[in-house]
């Protein structure tokens, strides 16, 4: 039993990451429902709030501090433990070795260590709810000075903030170990015949993502160290002189809160691509499999991913347009930011090119893949607006930004995870998910996320600031009340539909129809081995790869697909 829990098998670790992400996304989702509930009924007494937070919601009414701490935890859980963990740690761990024909990762024990550190990081983060003062208030960005001065900045800025920093530092270490492992595996362990040009785009995506997180998390770790020094060591890296917090003059001088913003966003912007790139790789594959056509412009896809990865490191300043930066730097950052649109557009057109003239099979995985392309375009276009300093000056810190990043970073990546779940579940657990439940799940979720996040753009354009715990005291926002009512009720519906997904997931785990070896008639290596694959993936047989990853509908062939594996290993 212990041997199975502390397994070094990449497939077990992948599933562990997946379920860790599932637990985090559920907590994060419930927290967001609490926020939407509070936003439209700020004065209603909710028994549940009081039961959960006897101090923060005494009498059942959420205090502003509690609202902010819930928001912080929602963001941190979702960004780190869902968007970073599931696409890379979950699916990546499970399928990267199989797809390149390896029996495990390059460093299996290091892999297990990364997972357990990630779990520790999650527990430390959740522990922040239970320390005196509760969870931190500063959002997932934890901007100083208020994150660096301790308890006097608010109830959660004491012990809760310490827990947050520790959690993020642990998470960074785990992410670094994982990325080293991924890069080494791709470079060293490819099966004979698996040349770089034959690698599935998923492998390219995980590889690129690993390079990004190797570079980005190192910087976040350094920033976290400095913040801890400021809090515990009495230093003032992020604290300027003459700072007055809660009517007290602080004895600090010389530092600058902007330093944190530079360091944080040097990590924070690449983080967006850490979340979305694995999804892009997977979506390319699913679109190709289900339209029975090769990926259009394979090399351009790889090039676009590498370009996005590079550009991701030089655009962090666009998060800081209103920080008082010189207009010249702002223009430079703006131009670089808009440049990201080029590789993104290449990817989008190649997806459309893949679909063009294909015989579409609209299974649930395919629907979510199409949904991904849709929200990626919708969220990307608003990104072009926000990338211009003149627009950003007005829209910064409004609901426009909330709508934008939820669409492109949150929903797009989550759709990729759903697509991945519906696509790979048969291989991971040997059973099929129910397609009808899946389709209901897709259509309500798809319409719902637009119903939530498009109105947020409208509220933002009307000047609605983000992070306000309620709007009742602001007359200029009273006209927008109906928008928020609409958003909240839509979000309750979407949240409820996710229960259907959970039911489908757990019901199918035990009761689903048995999955064949290759239910989707896909070509990559994982579909040549039994579902679920045996311990060392190929049952001791040696694999040879004889063709590229996307040979569909090749003229003159009998079957409309050709497996990558030379002979089917049994």
């Amino acid at each position: 039993m212990l041997g199975r829990i502390f397994s070094t098998d990449h497939k077990v670790i992948g599933k562990q990451y997946y379920f860790l992400g599932l637990a985090s996304v559920l907590i994060g989702l419930v927290l967001s429902v609490f926020m939407r509930l509070h936003l439209i009924y700020p004065d209603r007494k909710v028994k549940l709030f009081e039961m959960l937070w006897p101090v923060g919601a005494a009498g059942g009414i959420m205090t502003p501090e509690l609202y902010l701490s819930i928001m912080t935890m929602h963001g941190t859980l979702m960004v780190f433990f869902v968007l970073t963990t599931v696409p890379q740690g979950g699916f990546g761990n499970y399928f990267l070795p199989i797809q390149i024909g390896a029996s495990d990762m390059a460093f299996p024990r290091l892999n297990a260590l990364s997972f357990w550190i990630t779990l520790a990081a999650l527990l430390v983060l959740l522990g922040a709810f239970f320390v005196p003062g509760g969870a931190p208030l500063g959002g997932w960005t934890a901007y100083p000075p208020l994150s660096a001065v301790g308890q006097i900045a608010g109830p959660g800025q004491g012990d809760g903030m310490d827990m947050w920093i520790l959690s993020v530092a642990l998470f960074s270490i785990a992410a670094l170990l994982t990325s080293i492992n991924f890069i080494a595996t791709v470079i060293e362990l490819r099966a004979p015949g698996m040349t770089l040009e034959r690698m599935p785009l998923t492998v390219w995506a995980w590889f690129t993502t690993a390079i990004i997180s190797l570079l980005a998390f190192a910087v976040l770790l350094a920033a976290g160290l400095l913040l801890l020094l400021d809090r515990w060591g009495g230093t003032s890296f992020f604290l300027p002189s003459g700072l007055v917090v809660s009517d007290r003059l602080l004895n600090h001088s010389g530092g600058s809160p902007l330093l944190w913003q530079h360091l944080f966003w040097f990590f924070g912007h690449p983080e967006v691509y850490i979340a979305i790139l694995p999804g892009m790789g997977l979506i390319s594959t699913i679109l190709s499999v289900n339209s029975r056509r090769p990926v259009f412009g394979y090399k351009a896809m790889v090039g676009a991913m590498l370009t996005i990865a590079f550009l991701g490191f030089v655009v962090w300043g666009h998060h800081m347009f209103i920080s008082g930066m010189s207009p010249y730097s702002a223009i430079a950052f703006s131009v670089l930011t808009l440049t990201v649109g080029v590789p993104s557009a290449i990817k989008t057109f190649n997806w459309l090119g893949t679909l063009w003239g294909g015989r579409l099979r609209l299974n649930v995985a395919m629907l979510f893949a199409l949904g991904f392309v849709s929200v990626f375009v919708a969220g990307g276009i608003t990104g072009v607006l926000l990338g211009q300093p003149a627009m950003d000056l007005y829209l910064h810190d409004t609901y426009f930004v909330v709508g934008h990043f939820h669409l492109i970073m949150g929903v797009a990546a989550v759709f990729a995870m759903f697509a991945g779940t519906y696509y790979w579940f048969p291989k991971m657990f040997g059973r099929m998910l129910n397609e009808t439940l899946g389709k209901i799940h897709f259509y309500i979720t798809f319409l719902g996320v637009y119903g939530i996040f498009v109105p947020m753009h409208v509220a933002g354009l009307a000047g609605n600031p983000r992070r306000y715990p309620d709007f009742k005291e602001f007359e200029f926002l009273s006209d927008l009340a109906w928008i928020h009512t609409f958003i909240s009720h839509t979000s309750f519906t979407v949240a409820a539909v996710q229960l259907l997904f959970l039911f489908n997931l757990f019901w199918s785990l035990w009761r689903g129809a048995r999955a064949a070896v290759n239910p989707w008639e896909a070509t990559t290596l994982e579909w040549s081995v039994p579902s679920p694959p045996p311990h060392d993936n190929f049952g001791g047989a040696s694999v040879t790869v004889v063709r590229g990853a996307y040979e569909f509908s090749v003229p003159g062939r009998e079957s409309d697909f050709a497996m990558q594996a030379g002979e089917t290993p049994q």
């Binding site: 350094a222 060591g233 230093t235 530092g255």
Partner: protein
């Protein structure tokens, strides 16, 4: 190991760039080090650390020729140099602390000086210390044949990296802070 070093280098780069940022944005960065003994002492430390890189390179060379006993001896010499570096460094730290330099304050002005100095050198010293642990394990296993020539070379990579970081820290922290 190369990949680990890349990420570790990024951590140091972030900290060094932060140092540049706070130094440029601070009105009067202190320049407290006299040529003697301050800079001379730091130069001595640098010399010790560089010597350790030489002994390590010799150890890697001996391993390649299969002379395990010789390699173990050179690794021991490397560990000795590393330990001497830490001892000298701690002496310098104690001297500075006696003068009233702490991470939060110092007698010369901008308080961040102490934070930057102890933060960067502290992290580096932690790297040297973990390197000593690493090399001790490596050195103990060389003679019984538990490690290959490649293992020793990888250990050498780490050690040279730590040394290389110091070659950045020494000019940036000491030479640009010489008393005018």
């Amino acid at each position: 190991m190369w990949l680990f070093l890349v990420s570790d280098a990024l951590t140091f780069t972030a900290l060094i760039l932060s140092y540049a940022f706070v130094r440029v944005s601070s009105p009067a960065w202190p320049r407290p080090f006299d040529f003697s003994p301050g800079i001379l002492f730091a130069t001595l430390m640098t010399f010790v650390l560089l010597t350790s890189s030489l002994t390590m390179a010799t150890a890697v060379g001996a391993m390649r020729e299969g002379r395990r006993g010789v390699a173990a001896a050179w690794i021991a010499a490397t560990i000795a140099c590393g330990a001497l570096f830490i001892a000298l460094h701690l002496t310098e730290w104690r001297h500075l602390i006696a003068q009233g330099v702490t991470p939060a304050a110092n007698p010369w002005g901008v308080p961040l000086f102490g934070a930057v100095f102890f933060g960067l050198t502290g992290l580096h010293m932690a790297h040297v210390a973990s390197g000593i642990v690493y090399l001790t394990i490596l050195g103990a296993g060389v003679r019984p044949g538990r490690f290959s020539a490649e293992d020793v070379e990888v250990g050498g990579l780490y050690w040279h990296f730590v040394d290389l970081v110091w070659m950045f820290l020494f000019p940036l922290l000491y030479l640009t802070a010489v008393k005018p």
